[in-house]
Point group: C2
Chain length 145, copies 2
Amino acid sequence: MSKHTHKREAPELLLQNAGLKKTKARLAILTYLQEHPTPHSPEDISRALVNNTDTSTIYRSLETLESCRILTRIDFKKGRAYYEIVDPDHHHHHITCTDCGMIEDVPVCDVEMLIKKALSKTKTFDSIHTHTLEFFGHCSRCKNN
Amino acid sequence: MSKHTHKREAPELLLQNAGLKKTKARLAILTYLQEHPTPHSPEDISRALVNNTDTSTIYRSLETLESCRILTRIDFKKGRAYYEIVDPDHHHHHITCTDCGMIEDVPVCDVEMLIKKALSKTKTFDSIHTHTLEFFGHCSRCKNN
DNA sequence: TTTCTAAATGCGAATTATTTGCATTTGTTT
DNA sequence: AAACAAATGCAAATAATTCGCATTTAGAAA
């Protein structure tokens, strides 16, 4: 998938650094998402885990991992959440074809600039810790019907 | 709310230009969203409409209006959708406080640049017709606990 | 205007994703 | 090894959103 070398933090370390318990569910989810570095829904993940982790555990784990910024949650307007491992060295967003649903990474986003601009426009907000940016369009295949 | 003068296209015209039928539900929704130009959930809208429009009709109308780009759908990560009237002259995004839920407009976004950059990075996509950009942070009140 | 037809609505019921309460298990700390 | 808070599994509940279908309605055609 990726042509780049991704520096993978070991799941154990990710949890440890966040002060989270190293539980089987969390380790399994992180390992899976690291080995499959594209957006996955809770259902995807549930199906993928061999040890048959309970759905509610998956949801709870995903929420915890997202709030610790280990995972990021993405809204593709498909009626369910998707999650990806956060890799600070390869910050990216996505472009989705609204015809066929195909998703591609968009490796650029001048985050610093965007956030600075946003903060300069508000007096009510002191800090921005997260942002979402998604593009929707048509891929060449769908454009030609 | 807004210090700017918003050029409001009459709901009738919006529907006409999109080639949509001018139905009561659509007109009511558009009128409400124009008079209350902040993000609203389907439930908000349902409660607001006097003629007691059916929920499924509201959902169907919102979907139609969004796909015609008359409305935009926003994901504030609150477990439900929010909609706003699209005003091309006042393109904006939002910043949400993840403590208290407060939402503020962020009037800046160099859309053209963002989209151009995104398109330059992909060979698979020909066009981008929509983008989402949301910021999450802490407002000054919440920051000081 | 009246007629006609496809599209939109209302209603009820079904889905689907996600959440919650609680008893049990597990990870970490002492 | 003991102790305890936190995480899990299970079952059941929510909450948002969707669907099927009979009825109505907006706009085109006559």
